[in-house]
């Protein structure tokens, strides 16, 4: 309780997860020496860039004691929307990006209004929104994927293309010691992670959001506009999810109706693993980023060891369960009673 010196359990809670990650890196680099190359490291980051960005959005809603299940659907909607704007409407990359971000923010706003004003429980509201978006994104193309030259329902073929500027978002690589090393999406992930972390940990708004997550009633009586902050949290989540969808579209180069299936579960897993990092026992941006990278390292390592693809979900699930045990059982706290 008030003990100054850290006991073994405290140490395990605080550094256990980082140690586990270091151990994994050492293990993988011994059994598969190529694992330690810069290319491999970049691959890890690239594979988690999009889920990491989505996870940072979910973290914002977790901080205010909410939850957002619609992020995966928002991301795939942004994927389809950007393709539709550029390929069928033949508009520019800038318009596509702007419309996608606007769509994400609007969905977040609607989620927030459903939860705050209409008092629908957060899990149900965002689950409903998820179904709604999954259906909606397929209506304009009658369930087909979007690519240049596709047949349009009204006759004729789609003439537009993904502009090079847009594709750059997902494919361009910056020189970093080695030529063409760091993909732009990784830079976005790191930048967004730093900004969200600074915002949540060090600004007044972040502090008040944590206060709402811990005791909304008390925060309200201290003069905090609880509803407004909750809505803002869902808008952050929706906007980041749509940005993730833009990056996915830029990487794929087509509006593929089948992609993005794993986005929701992977990003939620990253955010929840984040609870265990440094014994935070609460949603936090740093932990979320580490959680995403952790999953990436694990999958990259297993791939290099030639583990079959179908074991991936099992491994992710196992990591998540272990992380939750770190957070809730070892630290002896009852957690926040939900999630």
């Amino acid at each position: 309780m008030t003990a100054r010196r850290l006991s073994l359990v405290d140490l395990a809670i605080r550094y256990g997860f980082l140690l586990l990650m270091a151990g994994l890196i050492v293990y993988f680099s011994i059994v598969a020496p190529a694992f330690l190359s810069p290319q491999s490291a970049v691959f890890v980051f690239q594979s988690v860039a999009i889920t990491g960005i989505l996870a940072l959005g979910v973290t914002a809603t977790l901080v205010v004691g909410g939850f957002d299940l619609s992020i995966g659907a928002v991301a795939t909607s942004a994927l389809m929307l950007s393709a539709y704007v550029m390929v069928i409407w033949e508009m520019s990359a800038g318009v596509a990006v702007a419309l996608c971000l606007l769509m994400g923010a609007t969905v977040g706003l609607l989620n927030g209004i459903l939860i705050v004003k209409l008092r629908v429980p957060d899990l149900l509201a965002t689950l409903g929104m998820m179904f709604l978006l999954v259906g909606l994104q397929r209506i304009p193309t009658e369930g087909n994927s979007i690519s240049t030259g596709m047949a349009l329902p009204g006759g004729g073929a789609a003439q537009g293309t993904f502009s090079p500027a847009f594709l750059m978002l997902g494919r361009h690589r910056l020189d970093f010691f080695v030529e063409n090393l760091v993909p732009l999406s990784v830079v976005f992930l790191l930048a967004i992670a730093v900004v969200v972390w600074l915002f949540l940990e060090f600004t007044r708004h972040g502090r008040l959001m944590y206060a709402i997550g811990s005791n909304a009633q008390a925060a309200g009586l201290a003069g905090v506009n609880v509803n407004r902050y909750k809505i803002v949290a869902y808008m952050i989540s929706g906007t980041l999810a749509s940005f993730g969808g833009i990056l996915l579209a830029a990487r794929l180069g087509r509006g593929d109706v089948a992609s993005g299936n794993n986005l929701l579960l992977d990003s939620v897993a990253a955010a929840l693993i984040g609870y265990a990092v440094l014994g935070a026992s609460k949603p936090n941006a740093f932990g979320t980023a580490v959680g995403a990278v952790f999953v990436g390292i694990l999958l990259q390592g297993l791939t290099m060891l030639n583990a079959p693809y179908y074991t991936q979900d099992f491994v992710k699930g196992a990591v998540l369960v272990v992380a939750l045990v770190f957070t809730f059982a070892l630290s002896g706290r009852n957690g926040r009673g939900r999630v």
Partner: protein, 510 residues
């Protein structure tokens, strides 16, 4: 001795390096009410939690009659006949179930048939309710009944176990006078039936009414046992604190200019209209039963709910806040009651809790929180309020109840205001912390008007220049705190108790 129902010998318990119980020796005889007094942090709650099976003891033994008693779970304690009614009402009930299921919860949890015979369940539940004189439709969902009735439901449920030892932890803190009387009658009946009763309270009025013996606890051990009639109440308080408690001497200063003026205010439909003026450098205590309208008054001033009619002005300007933020901006602060529900941010440390409403003052460009400024203010407030802690970075829940309460009051004293309202600031704190908080409220009162809401007249007498009595959502009396006639105040308090809505009013936002 055969009549001694419960014997505790050499009980110790530590949490980490924090030795909470240092060898408790206590006998709780059957057929008597043993009152347990202790300052916050003395170890009362830990002792109770060991007796009701939540914690295990490190060493020592407990015997029930002649049988050793070491419950491994609350259910085991219940089976052995040790029944506990907790202070926090919602700990003892399930709001989503109906009254009948709540009354029968332990039997349902015990096992038995998979399918529930509703009719039998309700019939049995009605018997249990009737046994404690609780007249209530058992099919109603618990969430729909008043707080005080929920308390009675949890007590009725406890009674249905034919307890050998009944532990009550501050059971009257949310009850009105009528309900308190009903509870006390019940306790007395059980005592006469030979049940051993351990009653924990800070309220002297309860203690005077019920106690057959008083046991004082201090620093994790028993510091005094008082069982010779007449009971030595001041001796018990001395044993609990380890020193004398001085009487509070209120010197009433000359009040300054009027700050708050309420004229022709009607708090709710059908209530009588009233006027109230609060001056600078004046501390007003508003007393009255639970549900007399004290919290409704605070809610109206803090923007949580408007009065039906009437004019309210603050320093001559109209005061009609739309919400807490509005009220705070106008200079009206409210330290809400029930700190764990309405005030404490459990995940935060002391400093983050303290600066919550005024974080803007500690934020720089880009809303960046300046931690240094925040910690400096916290250190100053810790020193001013005499909060016992290691550092401003201590988690708020590592503090004892009294110190948590000091932080919650300090939160609203950290900035200047025009009107400070404190709703039950002495709730669940021991007498020393109560005096500390009361003194700080008075010492800092010079440049604002202060309203303290408290149901206990003793508390009002310690803190106020003027005592205002509320009943039925209106003001029925006002007394300068000088040679005061307590009987006259009591008469006003209970002026029309049958009309007062018993406990219908929960917290100010309800």
């Amino acid at each position: 001795m055969a009549d001694q129902s419960i014997r505790i010998t050499g009980l110790t318990k530590a949490f980490g390096r924090n030795q909470v119980l240092r060898g408790v020796d206590l006998a709780i005889p059957a057929g008597q009410v043993t009152v347990l007094m202790g300052a916050n942090g003395a170890g009362k709650s830990t002792l109770v939690k060991i007796l009701c099976g939540v914690h295990g003891a490190d060493a020592g033994r407990v015997t029930l009659g002649d049988v050793p008693f070491a419950p491994v779970s609350p259910a085991a304690a219940l089976r052995a006949g040790v029944v506990t009614v907790h202070q926090n009402i919602n700990d003892g009930v399930v709001p989503d179930l109906d009254v009948a299921s709540n009354l029968m919860l332990d039997e349902l949890a015990e096992g038995g048939r998979t399918f529930i015979n509703r009719r039998a369940l309700r019939a049995r539940a009605r018997e249990i309710a009737a046994a404690v004189g609780l007249d209530l439709d058992v099919t109603r969902p618990l969430a729909g009944i008043a707080l005080a009735e929920r308390q009675l439901v949890s007590i009725a449920r406890a009674m249905s176990h034919r307890p050998r030892l009944l532990i009550l932890d501050e059971p009257t803190s949310s009850l009105s006078t009528a309900e308190t009387d009903r509870l006390f009658a019940l306790i007395e009946r059980l005592r006469d039936e030979g049940v051993a009763i351990l009653y924990i309270s800070h309220r002297m009025s309860d203690i005077r009414r019920l106690a057959d013996r008083i046991v004082s606890m201090r620093d994790g051990a028993i510091s005094g046992v008082f069982d010779a009639a007449p009971l030595d109440y001041s001796g018990a308080v001395r044993a609990m604190l380890g020193h004398e408690i001085t009487e509070v001497d209120v010197t009433i200063p000359a009040p300054g200019a009027p700050v708050l003026a309420m004229q022709g205010v009607v708090l709710r439909q059908g209530a009588r209209r009233f006027d109230l003026t609060c001056h600078e450098n004046e501390v007003i205590a508003i007393t009255g039963l639970v549900g007399a309208g004290k919290s409704a008054l605070a809610a109206a001033l803090f923007g949580l709910g408007a009065a039906v009619e009437g004019q309210v002005s603050l320093d001559g300007r109209r005061h009609a806040p739309k919400g807490p933020a509005d009220a705070i901006a106008a200079g009206v602060f409210l330290a809400a009651k029930d700190r764990l529900i309405n005030a404490v941010i459990a995940d935060f440390d002391i400093s983050r809790n303290l600066t919550l409403p005024f974080l803007r003052r500690h934020a720089g460009p880009l809303h960046w929180v300046r931690r240094g400024s925040e910690l400096a203010r916290t250190r100053a407030m810790i020193a001013m309020m005499g909060v016992v802690c290691q550092s401003p970075r201590d988690g708020i829940l590592t503090l004892s109840g009294g110190n948590q309460q000091k932080v919650m009051v300090a939160r609203w004293m950290a900035e200047d205001c025009r009107l400070l309202i404190l709703d039950e600031p002495f709730q669940g704190v021991d007498i020393q912390a109560r005096r500390d908080i009361g003194r700080r409220i008075r010492d800092s009162a010079a440049r604002r008007a202060t309203i303290v809401l408290c149901a206990e007249i003793d508390e009002a007498l310690e803190v106020a220049d003027r005592i205002v009595v509320m009943s039925e959502h209106s003001i029925v009396g006002s007394h300068r705190n000088e040679n005061i006639n307590v009987a006259a105040i009591m008469a006003e308090v209970v002026e029309a108790p049958h009309h007062a809505r018993l406990g219908a009013e929960g917290n100010p936002t309800a």
